[in-house]
């Protein structure tokens, strides 16, 4: 112990009657705190951020580069013109980047439980709804940043979106990020160890990606595939991104937006509900 410590210092931690803030202020503060933690961790793991930059590049340059001479120009249904395959693929890979990052961010709640940190959050004076919202915002921030790192490569693929279109692309990324973090949390809440992680990846996240039309046009799909793709929220996100960045789309903007917002509300409410029930 240090000689310069005096009893007046100890009085610092003598319980004062700090009045408890209004529940809404308390929850907002909690949401901000949880979000801030995710941002700090993101910054700390810059290496990982760069590491996960590699996978989208493989898709864009190797898969895209290999297929594009064969596929020629791609048009989709009646909406808009036609594009080279790499330019067609690009918005899909931006979407993929957001999808993967957001899903992992949500499932990361399992790690928080494993290392015990979740308990620190759960005994704090804030509602569980606030915990979920903080987590969703953190994951979405994380994934929009990740997707943004890919997005800035658009000139390489001869895409010329206007500033307004770029802004709307960011907005769509945010929607996908929020929805998918909620899905991740949904999956993570009931998981007690990180072992189920690869299973989730293979059974849920990858199918969401493959069904979304990120890799192929949605017209002229086999019937079963067409139905499955309609049920995938990512389909509408990728369609909007392609609309904003490349000018071609399959569904109308209204259909895309309404469906995404519907999925976002449903998934968030479901994950809040499950998280509130979990002991």
């Amino acid at each position: 112990m240090n000689g310069k410590i005096t009893t007046t210092d100890w009085s610092l931690i003598k319980s004062s009657e700090e009045t408890l803030a209004d529940p809404i202020i308390r929850d907002l503060r909690g949401i901000y705190t949880l979000w801030l933690r995710d941002v700090i961790r993101l910054w700390r793991d810059r290496i990982r951020l760069v590491g996960s930059f590699i996978q989208p590049l493989l898709f864009l340059f190797i898969l895209g580069g290999g297929l594009s001479p064969r596929l020629g120009s791609i048009s989709q249904g009646v909406n808009g013109g036609s594009l080279g395959y790499q330019a067609f693929l690009f918005p899909g890979i931006v979407g993929m980047s957001v999808l993967f990052t957001a899903s992992f961010a949500g499932v990361a709640i399992v790690w928080d439980r494993e290392v015990g940190f979740l308990k620190e959050v759960l005994v704090a004076p804030l509602s569980r709804t606030a915990v979920v919202i903080g987590k969703i915002l953190g994951g979405a921030t994380n994934s929009v940043l990740q997707g943004g790192m890919i997005l800035v490569l658009y000139p390489l693929f001869h895409l010329r979106p206007s500033s307004l279109q770029l802004v709307s692309a960011f907005f769509v990324m945010l929607l996908i990020g929020l929805t998918q973090t909620a899905v991740g949390i949904l999956l993570g809440v009931r998981m007690t160890s990180s072992q189920g992680f690869m299973v989730l990846m293979n059974f849920i996240i990858l199918p969401l990606f493959f069904l979304s039309g990120a890799l192929y046009p949605l017209d002229r799909l086999p019937h079963w595939l067409s139905i499955a793709s309609r049920l995938d929220p990512m389909t509408y996100g990728v369609d909007l991104l392609r609309h904003a960045l490349a000018g071609i789309h399959y569904y109308s903007v209204t259909t895309d937006l309404l469906t995404l917002i519907f999925f976002l509300s449903a998934m968030s409410m479901l994950s809040v509900h499950l998280f509130n029930r979990a002991d």
Binding site: S15, R44, D112, V115, E120, A124
Partner: protein
Amino acid sequence: MISVTNLVKVYRSKAGDRTAVNDISFHVGTGEFFSFLGPNGAGKTTTIGMMVALLAPSSGKILIDGLDVVESPHQVRQRIGIIFQDPSLDDRLSAWENLEFHGRLYGISGPIRKKRGEFLLDIMGLTERKNDLVRTFSGGMKRRLEIVRGLIHAPKVLILDEPTLGLDPHSRRIVWEYIHSVRKEVGMTVFLTTHYLEEADGSDRVGIINKGKIVALDTPGQLKKSVGPEVLNVRVQDRDSMKKYIIDTIPEIRDSIREEPDGSLSFSMGSHLASPWEFLKYLPFPIIEASIRRPNLDDVFIQYTGNNLSDNPGNKIAGDGA
């Protein structure tokens, strides 16, 4: 400060119901240092879970600082600082970031967070490691940091759930020095659960908990007195025959007989025999070694539960640093 009445927790599952906490009641006064002593699975952590509103009681009532835990969980949590049995720090954040996170969640303003954080880190000897990532900390340092964190919001009650589990003796001693200075200087109410006798021995009152029930509750001194004035420890060649002989001669002390790892027998004579020396004199076995000592809480524990606290297999695993 803490008032628990007829608290019950039943875990329901398809495999069958399990009663973890079976109708316990106790009070802890303001500024009191109260311990729950019992083996793993006795219901200690479940009780704490209900005190901080992580678990819903099956029935019964808990009041903390006059507030009902079920009705006002957040007000109660604001008044509690808790050190969990297992680490609960974010090891990818620095020590300071962990404290900031906690202070923000509990609504402590920036300047106060800073003042309290710096002061407490200094007390716990962590100032130099303030900006290091927690993953580089030793077990003992993490524990000290958790104590700092638990105090950042100036709680009225400090709850310690097996605070020194898995620590080496040196770190345990340091952690306890710090807890005692907090108690001495701030007069905070402390609720401790432990299966280490020495730790419970330092508290004002001890509740002995076994299989979800409080089997004894008093000051450590009174509890030891209730075992009897002294405990005999005798080593002979044929331990089993001696055990049988003791049970036959003084059946009343049957529950206090304990087989020690060194091959001897310990037992408390209570008031059933005038003098232990007389007993030893007439013992029909050649004595290799005999000693008399004052009872400790282990003897108390055996007296009330029929089990040896340190023989509990769960404790051994936990004691190995799980």
